[in-house]
């Protein structure tokens, strides 16, 4: 699939929130997960900027833990604000997709 970057703006952060909401995890693993999901072009640099933004905005709690496979990992988990943000994200997603699907169906 060719370039999705513009279309992912505003939604990729939501995807990361959803992944973190599912289980406590870390940047490198999140990138792999997104790649498996089909977002093959998403690179680590992108995910880390999102994670730093989430941290700065107070949506996550962070714990640094050693790894057996390399350097230490920063594990992220949603806090209360993060769960609220995730809920608004899905609400917006639902709203937007329904309108666009309506437009696609030739909705007058």
């Amino acid at each position: 699939m060719d370039d999705l970057t513009e279309m992912l703006k505003g939604t990729l952060e939501g995807c990361v929130l959803e992944i973190i909401g599912g289980e406590e995890t870390y940047g490198y693993a999140i990138t792999r997960r997104l790649n498996e999901l089909g977002f093959t072009d998403v690179v680590e640099g992108t995910v880390y900027t999102i994670l730093l933004r989430l941290e700065r905005n107070g949506f996550v709690r962070v714990a640094k833990r050693p790894s057996e496979m390399g350097p230490p990992r920063k594990f992220y988990a949603l806090n209360e604000a993060g769960r609220a943000e995730l809920a608004t994200f899905w609400a917006k997603w639902e709203y937007m997709t329904s309108r666009i699907d309506k437009l696609k169906e030739g909705g007058r």
Copy 2:
């Protein structure tokens, strides 16, 4: 619905393409149409920048015609390249939404 601007990036242009694809129309009317559709915050300035971009990228043919309700209007219609671009847009949209819905359903 609160701010959708980030989420609309990359898709709003596709919406405009779809609207133009339906019938030859002009900027002001496209804005009204988007507002009716539910994208209430989309303003004229945004639509005009998209239209100029479409023109610059050779996706539309343009015809200026007088109006009985004010200044002359610039009518836009899709050309061959525009129809192709619209098709790719919907392909990307389909691709992206399916992946994200899978993520939402907890798809492993």
